[in-house]
């Protein structure tokens, strides 16, 4: 528990209403997108960089640890409170400071919701490509910290590729600026890059300079329906071989088709083995030829239906299923475990096979949503977290999935991060010398291990 002196000082820094210490209030900050939870001593919500600095310096003096938090939507346990910590909640630092589309730059505070930035950019004919499925809730600070992906990565890359610079408060309370408003990797080392995806273990992002790009002139959205998942993965391979770079190649299997249909009635065929959402963008004169090629490829792969969306409403209808995929499975079982394994694209069919095998071997229900172009799969294991025996089986199945992905030359995390959930598997992906490199980086930024300790790697 925090002493009254500490509470008073925190209130002095951020204001009376921006310090939470009561049990009910703290509960909202005790969990994230995983099943884990933890109890913080308090939650503070600063509004300026100066307040962040003061909080860091004061809590260092008090020997209290800090855990940064955005909207808490992460799937890795990265924002779960640790022992003897205060949560630094960035929700109030939610101002878009500048949008300069002529120079392709926007400057935001870390608590800005991804979607809110998109809305403002759209008015000016621009957008910010990384849009993880959580984009209506997740913050940009969180997106940077997790290096979020989303459905457009095959063509446009991940969050890392759109962060030009950061203002960053180090664990000792000092401020640094990394990068700038251009592509140069300053200063000396590309510190922006090591901060991207660092899951809040190196300090606090207080300002983000993002790259924005003009909205594509044309987009075409297509939906292909297959009897078998294998045929969908063949389509993905053939599209890439044809030299086409779609923005999106999203796959859902039969289980997800049915759960999303129950939820949003988008009109997908309930008996289909898989659907593939394919989207391309670019100049109008380049569209027809690509759509034709893609149509032929799906036909060759025995697609039972290939549809090109003819209206914005149809596009939304196609995307509605995908956007609600994770939540929709809750109708089947009360809990689900999201996995984030990624394999080289050529091994995608083998990964699908591997998932089916794991499901059978452990007797668990697994639905698959995948960013197929990226080889990034989200097998959702459905279960009931109140059943301790089942939870054990689910954990074993998750471990088997990670092992399978690594065996196929892949990674245990494509876009969700390591946090607490995957920490135990990290050394099966990385050599000891690489694990030591991570520790060296953490120790350089945070020699006293004060910020978000115990996440990603133990030091």
């Amino acid at each position: 528990m925090l002493s009254q002196t500490v509470i008073n000082r925190l209130k002095e820094i951020v204001g009376e209403n921006n310090v939470v210490t009561d049990k009910t209030g703290l509960f909202s900050y005790s969990y994230d997108g995983t099943l884990l939870s933890g109890d913080a001593l308090g939650v503070v919500s600063p509004q300026t960089t100066e307040q962040v600095v003061e909080l860091v310096k004061y809590l260092n003096e008090q020997n209290i640890r800090l855990v940064p938090r955005g909207a808490g939507t992460n799937e890795s346990g990265g924002s779960i409170p640790v022992e003897n910590c205060v949560v630094m909640n960035f929700a109030r630092m939610n101002q878009i400071l500048e949008i300069d589309t002529e120079n392709y730059v926007a400057v935001v505070q870390p608590g800005v919701i991804n979607f809110d930035l998109q809305v403002e950019l759209e008015k000016k004919g621009c957008y910010f490509p990384p849009d993880p499925s959580s984009y209506k809730a997740s913050t940009l600070g969180g997106n940077v910290s997790e290096c979020s992906g989303g459905p457009k990565c095959f063509k446009y890359g991940v969050t890392r590729d759109y962060i030009l610079g950061l203002e960053f408060v180090l664990p000792n309370g000092k401020i640094i600026n990394t990068g700038g408003r251009n592509f140069k990797s300053e200063p000396g080392y590309d510190l922006t890059r090591i901060l991207c995806g660092s899951e809040g273990i190196l300090g606090f992002i207080t300002k983000i300079i993002v790259r924005v790009i003009p909205t594509p002139v044309t987009t075409r959205t297509m939906l292909a329906t297959y009897n078998k998942v294998e045929d969908a993965s063949q389509t993905v391979a053939d599209i890439v071989a044809a030299g086409i770079v779609p923005t999106t190649l999203e796959l859902m299997d039969n289980l997800l088709i049915n759960t999303t249909e129950d939820f949003c009635h988008a009109g997908l065929a309930r008996d289909a083995g898989a659907v593939l959402i394919i989207e391309i963008d670019g100049y109008p004169s380049d569209m027809d030829e690509q759509v034709k090629t893609i149509g032929e490829i799906t036909k060759k792969a025995d697609a039972r239906e290939f549809r090109v969306a003819q209206s914005a409403a149809e596009v939304n209808q196609i995307w509605a299923s995908r956007r609600c995929a994770f939540g929709s499975v809750a109708r089947v079982r009360p809990s689900y475990g999201v996995n984030d394994i990624t394999v080289p694209r050529s091994n995608f069919p083998k990964a699908i096979e591997g998932i089916l095998k794991v499901a059978k071997e452990f007797g668990v229900t697994i639905g698959v949503v995948a960013h197929a172009g990226d080889g990034n799969l989200h097998p959702l294991i459905l279960f009931d977290q109140r059943d301790a025996e089942e939870v054990k089986i689910v954990h074993a199945a998750e471990q088997a999935l990670c092992k399978m992905a690594l065996g196929l030359g892949g990674t245990i995390s494509g876009e969700h991060g390591i946090g607490l959930v995957k920490k135990k598997y990290l050394d099966s992906e990385f050599q000891p010398v690489a694990m030591e490199a991570f520790r060296k980086i953490k120790r350089t930024f945070d020699p006293e291990n004060r910020v978000n300790p115990g996440k990603i790697v133990e030091v």
Partner: protein, 431 residues
């Protein structure tokens, strides 16, 4: 250096691969230093052996693909990666290649294109750059707007750490957030975090067509004004470059400053855009406006750009680079003229239009520090800055923020020291 150490080096890489005769060493050296030996390793374990020995004996190492800098090296070792120059794998399905660092950048591009694939980053110095150096420098080049900076193309590597251990990291997945992103921190670290011995490189499908639109302009300002028109018309080509006559005259004959726009993509849209750009050039006062479709002519003009880029990159001590964003470049060039005098008479100016970068080559006797301060002040007034660590320092000075500067250097030097506690690798590199 003692004979005992030379023979240990020979034991590691083989007799013919250790050169300690000054006249034979010369072709591998840049700068005036006199290292004790040039060593040409053949694989990662040999590199590791040399680095481990250097740590034991406290000898410094300078690394390069074809040539290496001898600054602050003393009687150290020059490690030349030129023998490690093979493509180990070309994977069409996953659009990746595995390549050794000593292959020249141009040779890599050639082989990738022969395989029907595409690698966008440009060589830093077209005649000598190696692919390892490409990632060690980690530049943002003219094509960055469309394809991303160099780092975008590195998915993983094998590296010998400054303490000698071999590390393999990364995989063929284009999405990978596992662990901390050491992979991309290493890009641009100029060898100080380790020596690449194998690179896992991301590639793209080959675009259907390559085209260039070129024009000559009597004034840099006029040329740059057309760039703003192009951007305003919502055209984002692969590159928009402006090269001053002084830099281009030896590599591509013609009168005036060269504006060069590069288009890669689909047949129809590329043709439409090329016509539109050519019209903008003509209306904006360009002469000799040409749309270049022919492969050989295209290669020729791109090569001229690469030679000009090399000429600038070879004189880092005379170059000041700043970034202000594309839209503010016309203002910046006008104000720059107030600082350095007539831009047309300047030894060299390069503008990367889409990115809003400019590089100015100043006369040999120019006061670089004073110019950099003035140019930074100008750039800051337009929302930009002089790039690199120098820019960071100047910004901190301008804000009178010594604490930020010390916090920044503490992190950078701290990282370097953690990875290279004895300061063995590339002592001449100041980050």
């Amino acid at each position: 250096m003692s004979n005992a150490i030379i023979s240990k080096l020979k034991g590691i890489v083989g007799d013919p691969n250790v050169i300690d005769n000054p006249s034979e060493m010369a072709k591998y050296l840049k700068g005036t230093g006199k290292p004790a030996a040039v060593v040409l390793p053949g694989n990662a374990s040999e590199v590791s052996g040399v680095v481990a020995l250097a740590n034991e004996e406290n000898i410094k190492i300078s690394v390069g693909g074809q040539v290496a800098d001898t600054r602050d090296l003393g009687e150290g070792i020059v490690l030349i990666m030129a023998r490690m120059n093979k493509i180990i794998e070309m994977d069409h399905q996953n659009l990746v290649a595995v390549v050794e660092p000593g292959m020249t950048h141009q040779e890599f591009i050639k082989q990738v294109e022969a395989a029907g694939l595409y690698f966008p980053p440009e060589p830093y110095a077209v005649d000598t750059s190696s692919i390892g150096g490409c990632f060690a420098i980690g530049d943002a080049d003219s094509q960055t707007f469309k394809y991303g900076p160099t780092r975008t193309f590195l998915l993983g590597f094998e590296m010998v750490q400054p303490t000698g251990e071999i590390m393999e990291i990364g995989n063929k997945c284009i999405k990978n957030v596992s662990g901390l992103d050491f992979i991309h921190l290493a890009v641009g670290s100029k060898g100080t975090l380790g020596i690449f011995t194998k690179l896992l490189v991301k590639l793209l499908p080959m675009p259907a067509v390559k085209k260039a639109v070129v024009a000559r302009f009597a004034s840099l300002h006029m040329a740059n004004a057309t760039f703003n028109t192009i951007i305003k018309r919502n055209i984002q080509p692969d590159r928009i470059n402006l090269i001053s006559e002084s830099l281009v005259k030896d590599v591509l004959p013609g009168q005036g400053h060269l504006a060069l726009i590069d288009l890669k993509g689909f047949v129809q849209s590329s043709q439409n855009l090329a016509n539109e750009i050519a019209a903008v050039f003509s209306l904006g006062g360009g002469t000799d406006v040409q749309i270049i479709d022919d492969d050989a002519a295209y290669e020729n003009v791109i090569n001229a750009w690469l030679k000009a880029r090399q000429a600038v990159n070879h004189k880092p001590e005379q170059v000041i680079e700043f970034a202000v964003g594309p839209k503010k470049m016309p203002q910046a060039l006008t104000q720059l003229e107030g600082i350095v005098g007539d831009l047309g008479a300047c030894p060299g100016v390069v503008v990367e239009g889409l990115l809003g970068f400019a590089r100015v080559l100043l006369p040999e006797n120019a006061d670089m520090t004073a110019s950099a301060q003035k140019i930074n002040k100008m750039a800051m007034s337009l929302g930009g800055n002089v790039t690199g660590l120098l820019g960071c320092q100047l910004k901190c000075e301008a804000y009178n923020d010594a604490e930020m500067w010390s916090a920044t250097t503490e992190i950078i030097n701290g990282l370097r020291h953690k990875f290279d506690p004895k300061g063995i690798i590339n002592p001449g590199v100041s980050l």
